[in-house]
Symmetry: D2
Subunit: 242 residues, 4 copies
């Protein structure tokens, strides 16, 4: 995490304005809690659905190394043109961290090529226990993390999770109610890297958890663009005599 | 290949009607040459762009175990609703074999989540040599195939090929002009299997090649649906007391 | 599973002779229970540690399409020359199914290149609940299997399981005591296929479970050799003029 | 590469003392040429076969973040106890970069679990052209590298390369004589990372090539250990009441 990275944290930012329970947990929005947890050498900016162009102008995306995405009730309100813009930036190298209910966001489904569907359960009133086991020790995303992360109150997400086989599977969750879930997954898309991280139901203080914060910060470092040559596509002259 | 499979071969079927060179090579269309090469225990039907619903009605797709796709100049004419229909069938288990210029079809790009772009060259007048090396001996798709398949006259496709990392890489091509290409690639999407196979430029008699035919037939067998339980998605009751 | 396959089931076959509890569950040995569950078109033979050459002569292995392996207390008694012989047959295409405590067998560790270590717990007196979730629906190994397999009494194996990333992850287990485990894993080695399947502690009647039997039978079909060309290694003349 | 890493470069260091052609290209040994190309923030030390314990004492390995390995004619002279020591360090997190003919080293074969065999050709007198295509743009190992690396004079290595499917395939080589080769491959083993990089025949000045040097330096950064929790193995108490 000793690398300077420009992070944009995108939050749908609706629950925090309409649901009293969420207001109490995240009065300034989930994005600010995540942002304040980023290391000092990261430059953090925020964007939200209700801003113009959802806060994701072409200029803003060009200035973004890694985009963090939290959405839930308003996936359909995200403009397809903005989704296309984010998609193209990912293929050109921008990292993307998709959190929790973002599994059903347009951008995640477009990058995965699958339905991204799953089982879920919001056990009243306090959710249930989740234990995220590290199945890939030594991966940069688990730097500083123990053998597992335990969260006492979370929504359940269960298999089958309809995603392409992850290029790297980092976490697998155990749930109190009897399910498992591939909860930390890496993929490559074009020159970009995508990380899905499961925890973060809006009514629980999950993003205050130090381990969860550390994983997100690590993932940003892992997903930051690498300055390799952009591939050239299209008609090509031979490199050998034929 | 001793398994009964229902195959639908979809061909854009435009070049064969408009380009004299292609007419000569494939007077009845590429699809029929491929279809006639399928083993006897496969049931083969055909579909084409200019049929109603492109020949891919809901009923037809329900009756299809594996769909083979060849398209090129008219990708944009494929109706988005039909693309969505094929996509949903793949996630439910239908196999999909995408050939050659099908890399730019709507359905392949939608399933991959990437641009599927590449380098290409049509060396006049006779193309160039391609040698498809088997990099995964023992895979069902190379049953009966030697260490490589050699094609004297083909269009070149070169890296970088903008696809997600294949779940299994079966062939890698060498081209006379100096390029390489991941030319036989497997992915899983939902309950379905996808195989991309590179050769098959319309002006060359590639689909008459016995090895190419064998690979396609093998791929159909590999991609045929498996009768496992369809996953249940959505709200789920706990399996344990919580 | 409609394919004829020659299966050899290798069992250490010591617990069944010395431990009264195991004697009661498997009076003829675990191998015979597994063997009797194989489909009719499979040809089943047995081999055990205490036979000459552990029952795995060169001739026997040449006649074997897929080898099933159960071992536990006597891994060290397996002769290194026999391990080498099995290893070479796998690289030449023989399938290998490694069951439960076979994770610590010489042959599995040699093929994996890792320690294959894990967490374990034998909860007295009746073990604990394991639920094996299918994370790859549509895979040939889960044909006929539901969304999960539930076993009421099993030994626990927990992550981290020190294996190379599986080429395909088919099952992930939930355990009552709070752990998860990658419990059905596929790898390719040379021309051969390897499947590790977790359940089967000797004191529980796991191999009488119809789902467990079905998975093993499916895995045998999946792992059966494919008649592709054996690669040629060593000094090679150029295929092009240089 | 802005991270401090302790690199040990191990060279068999025999060709440079006995073969006049190699002496002229690498009078101080290949290892020193590689070492001098490492970035300033890397700490480089050297070790060779003919040193006591091959220069790889327990202390030395404990002080090593990433080990680079070049061997060829004397693989068999490497003491099995030293191989075991290196192996255990890799599983505990030390990175390993295996170069060229190191594909047949004891340590690489032990970590792969396969024969690591391949086709090869030393075309007299000047080898042949190799073009290493980047098939994974955006990977940290290709930072600063163009679409391909071209080497005019190299030994040929051709498929089939008998390795487990790489976790990440970064380079694929084209050879003038008609072959292809997976020439830059990543695997995870335990907590450690392994990178195989093909070029570097002893009679050619390959390790003076700036791109080759850059790839090796990048690979060292990629393979450096990550401070995640060491997994605990063995008997485990339940985390939940059962």
């Amino acid at each position: 995490m000793n690398r300077s990275v420009k992070v944009t944290i995108w939050n749908e930012f609706r629950h925090e304005k309409t649901n009293e329970k969420v207001m109490q947990v995240y009065p300034q929005g989930m994005h600010t809690v995540i942002g304040q947890a980023m290391p000092e050498n990261y430059t953090v900016t925020y964007a939200a659905l209700d801003e113009e162009e959802h806060g994701l102008t072409e200029e803003r995306l060009q200035e973004t190394d890694v985009l963090i995405w939290w959405g839930h009730v308003a996936h359909d309100e995200v403009d397809d043109r903005i989704v296309q813009r984010v998609y193209e930036r990912v293929l050109k190298g921008m990292g993307l961290i998709v959190l929790h209910s973002g599994h059903f966001s347009k951008i995640f489904k477009k990058l995965m090529g699958t339905s991204c569907d799953l089982k879920w359960r919001e056990h009243e009133p306090n959710g249930e226990r989740e234990r995220l086991w590290v199945v890939r020790p030594g991966h940069p995303i688990v730097e500083g993390i123990g053998e597992y992360i335990q969260l006492e109150n979370e929504e359940m997400y269960g298999e089958h999770f309809d995603i392409p086989q992850p290029d790297e599977l980092v976490f697998t969750s155990w749930f109190q109610g009897g399910e498992v879930f591939r909860s930390g997954c890496c993929w490559n898309r074009g020159q970009g890297k995508v990380f899905y991280f499961r925890p973060g139901h809006e009514t629980f203080p999950t993003y205050f958890n130090k381990d969860v914060q550390r994983v997100i910060a690590n993932a940003v470092g892992w997903a930051a663009p690498v300055a390799s040559a952009a591939p050239v596509y299209g008609n090509a002259k031979p490199l050998e005599n034929i």
